[in-house]
Amino acid sequence: GAGVSQSPSNKVTEKGKDVELRCDPISGHTALYWYRQSLGQGLEFLIYFQGNSAPDKSGLPSDRFSAERTGGSVSTLTIQRTQQEDSAVYLCASSLVTGVSGVTQYFGPGTRLLVL
């Protein structure tokens, strides 16, 4: 079946502009995660959605970052007033269940963001 998809695959923007990154999880997966992969920080957790529960936003680096998940499926990560340090690959993952030890997260190909 189809895996996790993300769009755009690449995004170049100017400092100060807002960007939106989209993630389509695997159909039927209730849990959705966003991670950031950057040269200096490696892979780090950003935010987590599970069903209709309030999202865990504890990994968001600043209030310029926000995310939503509409209808329990598609998610959008928004970065306002982008800064050069926001340049990274943003990875989305989904899983069938959560709260169970060892649940496998399936990753999308990522969106490569470059802030000039």
């Binding site: 895996g3 996790v4 490696g42 892979l43």
Partner: protein, 114 residues
């Protein structure tokens, strides 16, 4: 708290020779452990995972890993490297149940020489 240390940032092997990627973890609980692979400009693909069952875990593409609690290690091996194994490999820990935040190692880049 938990963390993951990948002991080698880069490993270079000849095609047909064994591959060993080392990973140590620290965890306050009985963790679940994963190895993911990332090919250039691709997403992360799960190679294998350990979830407190058999300590020797077999994954895709001939990879396997052994969980050693006494050594807090989860090293990844493959008996014979293939050119297509050139990629970046991440050791990942997921603490026990109810914790969904994956903690990633820094990654090991594997180069395969013809």
């Amino acid at each position: 708290a938990q963390s993951v240390t990948q002991l080698d940032s880069h490993v270079s092997v000849s095609e047909g020779t064994p591959v060993l990627l080392r990973c140590n973890y620290s965890s306050s609980y009985s963790p679940s452990l994963f190895w993911y692979v990332q090919h250039p400009n691709k997403g992360l693909q799960l190679l294998l995972k350990y979830t407190s069952a058999a300590t020797l875990v077999k994954g895709i593409n001939g990879f396997e890993a052994e969980f050693k609690k006494s050594e807090t290690s989860f090293h990844l091996t493959k008996p014979s490297a293939h050119m297509s194994d050139a990629a970046e490999y991440f050791c990942v820990v997921n603490p026990s149940s109810n914790d969904y935040k994956l903690s990633f190692g820094a990654g090991t880049t594997v180069t395969v020489r013809a």
